[in-house]
């Protein structure tokens, strides 16, 4: 290349500063996998607030932001910790009436992103018929089929202003490499990556551009999309980064417990977010021995 493309590589704090108070944000990942946790912790440190989170299946990523009082509105299908039960801060906030909710069934929440990726404003569905969701969610409207098959629920496209995804590898120009045998959390991230150019990718590792040229079929988010790429090893911890490391079950179990009370949750934030100056300091707090154990044997970065 005689003219070098833009370098998208940013620091974690530079990337997090792109998201302003009041933004409408989607955090990638699903269940306890692939959430951009290092980015979430940096947003917490920067004080970013008044967020609308548009999600599908969330866990501690969104739960932490809720517990710290940074989320005004949540569009979602699930906030939970799978084997560790209900997301504790989400539960506390909803029970005390502090969170505006707009909830959908899971495939509908997924499809809202596919709808945005297709450039369409809404889509029809019948899968929530018979439930109380349309009664409590004014965003579920009615529409009739102009071809005569009857009435449907109309649901709007996700339309996030910002999408933040954690992925395995990228080059400094913002080409993002995925592993070939993807699971649903990764495929949902790819769909979400096509909904906006305000796209921030955190990765386990920045690789040389030549690597992308060797593996072009794994370049599933090409460099015209991301605004910024950030290198954060173990950036999904305590969630998994599929193919690279497992979720930290001990940590998630601890989180589920301390999250139940605001005071112990605040202490958790002090220990793992506010009391550490950056992601490296966070990893030191977790410890090398633990991180080594979480590495996926036979997988990982080559």
């Amino acid at each position: 290349m005689s003219m070098e493309p833009d370098i998208k590589l940013r620091s974690l704090s530079e990337a997090a500063a792109l998201i302003k108070d009041g933004s409408r944000v989607h955090f990638g990942g699903m269940a306890v996998h692939n959430h951009p946790m290092a980015f979430v912790r940096e947003l917490l440190r920067q004080g970013t607030k008044d967020l609308t989170v548009v999600s599908h299946v969330s866990a501690n990523d969104v739960d932490m932001l809720i517990g710290a009082g940074r989320v005004r509105r949540l569009e979602f299908s699930y906030v939970g910790l799978e084997e560790f039960g209900t997301a504790p801060c989400f539960r506390r906030a909803v029970e005390s009436g502090q969170l505006e909710l707009s909830e959908y069934s899971e495939p509908v929440a997924f499809e809202r992103f596919a709808c945005s990726a297709r450039g369409m404003p809404f889509f029809p569905t019948r899968e929530m018929v018979g439930t109380d969701l349309p009664r409590v969610n004014p965003d579920i409207r009615e529409v009739s089929d102009p071809f005569g098959s009857g009435t449907y629920h109309a649901v709007s496209a996700a339309e996030p202003e910002w999408v933040v995804i954690h992925a395995p590898m990228a080059d400094k120009y913002g080409n993002v490499l995925f592993f070939p045998n993807r699971q649903l959390p990764e495929d949902l991230d790819l769909t979400a990556s096509r909904t906006t150019r305000n796209l921030i990718i955190t990765v386990e590792q920045i690789v040389p551009h030549e690597r992308v040229r060797e593996l072009p079929y794994l370049n599933l988010i090409p460099r015209f999309r991301p605004t910024a790429v950030v290198e954060v090893p173990f950036g999904a911890h305590p969630c998994s980064c599929l193919h690279v490391y497992d979720q930290d079950r001990e940590h998630l179990g601890h989180y589920a417990k301390v999250g139940r009370e605001q005071q112990s949750f605040d202490e958790y934030l002090e220990t793992y977010v506010y009391g550490v100056k950056d992601h490296d300091a966070y990893l030191n707090r977790i410890g090398d021995a633990k991180l080594t154990r979480l590495r996926h044997v036979g997988g990982g970065l080559q």
Binding site: M30, A31, V32, H33, V57, F76, S77, Y78, V79, G80, E82, E83, F84, G85, T86, F90, R91, V94, E95, S96, G97, E103, Y104, S105, E106, P107, V108, F110, E111, A114, T125, R126, E127, M128, V129, G130, T131, D132, L133, V136, G150, T151, N181, R182, Q183, L184, P185, D187, L188, T191, S240, L242, H243, Y245, D246, Q247, R249, H296, G298, G299
Partner: protein
């Protein structure tokens, strides 16, 4: 001599008998260790048992994406619906991406499995909130895929821990539409098919009366008394028929199959 069937084996056999050949079965995510055992691990054993006894052409979508896994080679106890270990579970195929929801949207799934914090006398289920929606006493995880299980699938097997507070006259929030307000309820909102076919618990089986659509006690598991069931059931309608059967547990051959072939290392079901 094979030791008598455990409660979980009785439940697995009950599910297996409900499953037919040439069907598509869908199993999704659950939350909390007790629910993962009842709603994920138990149906997985039941599905392979059915495939090995009478349903060789059926097809299972485990966690929605792992197709026809070798249950006995499960890498873990299904703590999560995804993960590195599950990606190495020997199976017949993967179904990732959004195509998973499109299969359901096309009404191709015959049977799903569901659970809830509350189930009511018409089989409506609630995974959203206990108490008023805006200010709930207990906020639960959310609807997840339950709406589609009850609106798009052929039928739903509801599996519940048998506790009084779980069995109510009317759920506080409908996230899975059973027979709604009773006869004609589903039809009145345009649901032409589907709905719950049974409620299976660790004590008994309920089925829905074709006329009244009410949940009726169909059988009680071996070793459980009617008093025990009544003491732990919150329904107030008359759900006890004149004759209550004992749940037909697995045959000795089926028990042997579960213990030596389907789940030889006891990864899925406690022994």
């Amino acid at each position: 001599m094979t030791a008598p069937a455990t409660t979980y084996e009785v439940m697995a056999a009950t599910i297996a008998r409900e499953l037919r050949d040439r069907e598509l079965w869908f199993l999704g995510m659950s939350t909390g260790p007790e629910t993962i055992l009842l709603l994920t691990r138990l149906p997985i054993v039941a599905m392979e048992l059915a495939q090995r006894t009478h349903a060789p052409n059926s097809w299972m979508l485990v966690a929605g994406w792992i197709m026809n896994p070798v249950v006995g080679k499960a890498p873990n106890r299904m703590e999560s619906e995804f993960g590195n270990a599950l990606g190495e579970w020997p199976c017949e195929g993967y179904n990732n991406s959004l195509t998973m929801s499109y299969i359901a949207a096309r009404h191709e799934i015959d049977v799903g499995f569901g659970s809830a914090a509350q189930v009511d006398k018409y089989g409506n289920c609630n995974t959203v909130a206990i108490g008023p929606y805006e200010r709930p006493k207990v906020r639960l995880v959310g609807p997840i895929n339950q709406p589609g299980h009850f609106s798009l699938f052929g039928r739903e097997i509801v599996i519940m821990p048998h506790e009084k507070r779980n069995f109510v006259d009317r759920v506080d929030f409908i996230s899975g539409a059973g027979y709604l307000d009773g006869p004609g309820g589903r039809e009145s909102v345009g649901l032409q098919r589907g709905g719950p076919c049974m409620i299976l618990t660790d004590k008994a089986v309920f089925r829905f009366d074709e006329q009244t659509r009410l949940a009726m006690l169909a059988s009680i598991h071996p070793g459980i008394t009617l008093d025990d069931v009544v003491a732990n059931t919150g329904f107030t309608h008359d759900y006890i028929p004149p004759e209550v059967e004992v749940t037909a547990g697995p045959s000795a051959e089926e028990v042997e199959l579960i213990r030596t072939v389907v789940d030889p290392d006891g990864v899925m079901l406690p022994r």
